[in-house]
């Protein structure tokens, strides 16, 4: 076939081009010691003068050219990995291709978003958002997303669900990866602040939401004078029903914790499955009040050399909660601190000063914790923790929680640099730790069962690569699962400073892609990607072929919230308008390039319920729908049925139209909503 011949010809051309480029890179690399990679050298080496001239004209070094070759993703080809990143205080989640670092989608989660028709009239999304209002009379229109968690099966990402928390209001959202849409938001009934979420247990039976700033549980009030008695930390275990794709609040529970500020958590896996680890800071229980002459939190919370890693027996906590050995707080079952101690659910491990991340190694044997004010990263042994618990090797803290002996449970400490925060893993026995103050990513070798995976000595710093700047989290491909992939790492930098053209004083964040495919001191910075929308925290990278999203909704008339055919699904020919008193109900279809009906005549004061079904079956044949002045905008993906409901409070003639450029006759895809003035008003105006 002509088509195949053409493709084949193009493939040959691309292969030839790449071979030439690779050759160029090899020769570039061999000339590395020389001062300038001038085109003269390249031409001398027998490399295509065109390519050399391009590199020369753009001022590209051999490393630049190799970085370009490792990341360039030609038109029509797809990325090997998908990165799901929190959108920070944009309240959303990003899906980004790796290694191209192209943004594929911003998934609306806590913030209304018009392109996806999320929170602009579509009843399903309005209800999802309203489910997350802490107080029904105070709509929340944003969130501070922190830590996305992909659902797991046997400790591996399965590509089915994605969870993310809102630190600002202590909420957790559930995203369905069949259509990349948010299906549920639950608010924490006992806390208004979370940080240690979301994390998934190895089979996603539980979604972990750890607290942050201690406060009286149940959103209640108490004076700061009563901090030690009334303020509490918490961890909430949300039960996830995989079949329904919903968190089941009625089957979930929380645990009361001392008023230390819990930070990040991680679920144990494999040998440590059934346990949860959360670290904490402000075990000083500083209460702030810098304006009153008290130490500011930043110093008050940084006095002790050690804070507490919380070691929680999840399996036993589940039994205790199931047995009803809980206290109701704001209608939610909470295992009290006393019960937790009686039932031996909670232990503390001293951990170096004000840590940020606690990260469990792929096999579950070690916990890696970096005190951000200590240049070491500390590795704890789960086996030793269990042995110490068994041996009763502990002393109670102020709240009676057993504190294990640091030296008995610590495996080793590795000096990495300043401001170590978070750690991820690869398939070659290396760990990667972000160094906030050094603005670097450290690669270091693990020991124990990982020792033989590389040639470097155990528990040793191998390479530090500078990043730009102030790295927070980092993420390696499947780097927090039981079988990390290696290959790529993304450094999620808080500051960009000079990396991009100045766009005014508010700068984007900077995601930097790093090649970690080869062992030893070979990490290479590949690409800078600006994130101009909220400050992302954590991310996870999943192999793209694990995701199997729908191309179009499975059947015409699909309700994306229930993931089933809507009772208001409307087929072509079934369109109608029905009136019952002041209630008007409309069943409409959308197809390229018209809505049916195109005239909707109602009266001011009517209560309008309007169902629209996009009856298309073609990939990408999405229609929008907007009504002026009523703040309505829908996204109707192929097969989708949406419902809007509003009061016709203002009369006039309103042109509704399709907001997605759907076809050549897109502008013609419109109709008129006539809202007649009501009689009494018409009478008084003419009077």
């Amino acid at each position: 076939m002509a088509l195949n011949n053409r493709n084949f010809g193009r493939t040959k051309a691309i292969v030839a081009f790449l071979l030439v480029l690779l050759l160029a890179v090899g020769l570039f690399a061999s000339c590395r010691d020389q001062q300038e990679p001038g085109s003269e050298q390249l031409e001398e080496s027998g490399i295509s003068s065109d390519l050399a001239a391009i590199a020369e004209a753009r001022g590209l070094t051999p490393d630049d050219v190799s970085a370009a070759l490792k990341t360039y993703t030609p038109s029509g080809t797809h990325d090997e990995y998908i990165l799901f990143a929190s959108g920070g205080h944009a309240g959303q989640v990003y899906a980004i291709g790796v290694p191209s670092m192209r943004i594929l989608k911003q998934i609306a989660v806590f913030t209304p978003e018009p392109w996806q028709g999320y929170g602009y009239g579509a009843k399903g999304s309005m209800e999802v958002l309203a489910g997350g209002y802490v107080n029904e009379d105070l709509p929340l229109t944003w969130g501070d997303t922190h830590h996305p968690a992909l659902s797991e099966t046997g400790g591996e990402y399965d590509g089915d669900w994605l969870f993310i928390n809102d630190k600002a209001n202590a909420r957790v959202a559930v995203i369905d990866l069949r259509d990349f849409e948010t299906k549920q938001i639950v608010k924490n009934p006992i806390s208004l602040s979370d940080h240690g979420g979301t994390f998934s247990t190895p089979d996603t039976e539980w979604v972990i939401e750890g607290g942050q700033y201690a406060a009286p549980l149940g959103w209640s009030y108490s004076s700061i004078e009563n901090y030690r008695d009334d303020y509490r930390g918490m961890i909430t275990l949300w039960k996830f029903d995989r079949e329904a794709g919903r968190i089941r609040p009625e089957e979930s529970f929380a645990m009361e914790l001392p008023p230390y500020w819990q930070d990040l958590c991680d679920a144990g896996k494999l040998v440590s499955d059934g346990w949860i680890f959360c670290n904490s800071f402000n075990t000083e229980m500083a209460t702030g009040g810098v304006e009153k002459g008290e130490p500011a939190f930043e110093s008050g919370a940084s006095q002790r050399d050690m804070d507490y890693l919380h070691v929680i027996n999840l399996d036993r906590a589940v039994e205790v909660a199931a047995a009803g050995n809980t206290t109701e707080v704001n209608g939610f079952p909470v295992i009290s601190l006393d019960t937790a101690l009686e039932e031996e659910l909670l232990y503390f491990v001293p951990e170096p000063k004000s840590p940020h991340g606690v990260d469990v190694t792929p096999g579950g044997e070690y916990l890696v914790i970096s005190g951000k004010l200590d240049p070491h990263t500390t590795v704890f042994s789960f086996e030793k923790i269990m042995a110490a618990i068994e041996a009763g090797d502990y002393e109670p803290d102020e709240y009676g929680v057993p504190v294990l002996n640091f030296d008995s449970v610590m495996e080793t400490q590795v000096e990495l640099g300043l401001g170590p925060l978070h750690t991820q893993f690869d398939d070659k026995g290396y760990a990667y730790t972000s160094l906030f103050l050094d603005s670097a990513v450290a690669r270091w070798s693990l020991g124990g069962p990982y020792a033989d995976l590389n040639d470097d000595p155990d528990w040793t710093l191998v390479q530090k690569t500078p990043v730009h700047y102030n790295v927070g989290h980092l993420v390696a491909a499947e780097g927090d699962t039981v079988s990390p992939d290696g290959n790529y790492l993304v450094s999620m930098n808080k500051w960009a400073v000079d990396r991009f053209a100045n766009v005014g004083p508010l700068l984007p964040q900077n995601f930097q892609l790093i090649d970690i495919a080869n062992p030893g001191a070979t990490m290479q910075l590949l690409y800078d990607m600006p994130i101009p929308d909220g400050e992302p925290h954590y991310a996870q990278i999943i192999k793209a072929d694990k995701l199997e999203p729908w191309e179009v909704y499975p059947e015409v008339g699909w309700d994306p919230i229930t993931q089933s055919v809507s009772p208001h699904a409307t087929a072509a020919g079934e369109e109608r308008i029905e009136r019952d008193g002041n209630n008007v109900e409309i069943w409409m279809t959308a197809v390229r390039s018209h809505f049916t009906p195109e005239h909707v005549e109602i009266r001011k004061g009517d209560h309008v319920t309007w169902h629209i079904t996009n009856i298309e079956r073609a990939y990408d044949a999405t229609h929008g729908f907007t009504i002026p002045a009523y703040n309505i905008n829908l996204s109707l993906e192929p097969g989708e049925t949406e419902t809007i409901e509003f009061e016709a409070t203002h009369d006039g003639v309103f042109s509704y139209y399709c907001t997605e450029f759907c076809s050549a006759l897109h502008l013609e895809m419109t109709g008129y909503l006539f809202i007649e003035p009501d009689d009494s008003q018409a009478f008084s105006e003419s009077d």
Binding site: A618, A664, L665, E668
Partner: protein, 234 residues
């Protein structure tokens, strides 16, 4: 309808009845084994043709692929004797811009009768196995012509649909009425159309070819017997 006399009785009749003239002589039961194939071959070929036709009911006969920039995988419709599958809804959606009627309105009668009709054709082929005279041609002719009738009907409907476009359709001013080719490439708007025969139609053609071969061997096997019988009767 008269009841057909039992075969044995026919043979016993002194003069050759119409029935016998139609069915012809039986293959000699005492033929040597290596000669038996001579009489069985036409029957085997006709049965094969019948089976091919029956199987073809479940397979596509014809396919049209539409290629356009915004459909990287193309759109296609597969035509079976009784149904159309593939991107019919999408193609209908696009066709409404040029005022073409929905594909489902084409050949409704033909599609509704097709399975019964092809089953009949196959039964006629099987019945033909018992006819050892030239009248066998009459029974196999419908099956022989079947793929040609299919194509003629396809062409009729393509022409009917392509030439009868709704003049009030959005793009009626830019797309002139047309007849898409029944085989090979055509062009409609930004769409390149590629029409191809499919396995079902090839099976029907193969059945036609086998029938012709069967007729040849039939003639070779039975014509001498018929001539002998006619000579005997005279």
């Amino acid at each position: 309808m008269s009841v057909r006399p039992p075969y044995r009785r026919v043979r016993k009749m002194a003069t050759m009845s119409v029935v016998k003239k139609f069915f012809g002589p039986r293959a000699p039961a005492d033929a040597p084994p290596d000669e038996r194939i001579r009489y069985r071959l036409p029957a085997m070929l006709l049965a094969t043709a019948a089976v091919l036709l029956l199987i073809s009911i479940f397979l596509p006969y014809w396919k049209m692929t539409l290629m356009a920039p915004q459909y990287p995988g193309g759109l296609s419709v597969q035509v079976y004797v009784n149904q159309m599958t593939g991107d019919v809804a999408e193609i209908d959606g696009l066709n409404h811009y040029i005022g073409m009627r929905p594909l489902g309105e084409a050949a409704q009668l033909e599609r509704s009768m097709s399975i019964a009709a092809i089953t009949m054709l196959s039964l006629l082929l099987l019945a033909a196995i018992f006819i050892n005279t030239k009248w066998v041609t009459l029974l196999v002719l419908p099956a022989l012509l079947m793929p040609f009738v299919f194509l003629a009907d396809m062409y009729f409907w393509m022409r009917n649909f392509g030439l009868n476009l709704d003049p009030t359709a959005p793009l009626s001013s830019s797309i002139e009425p047309f007849v898409p080719p029944i085989l090979g490439e055509g062009l409609v708007g930004q769409f390149r159309t590629i029409a191809e025969f499919q396995i079902g139609l090839y099976m029907a053609f193969l059945a036609s070819f086998i029938i012709i071969v069967a007729l040849y061997f039939h003639r070779r096997a039975f014509k001498p017997l018929v001539e002998k019988m006619e000579a005997g009767a005279a």
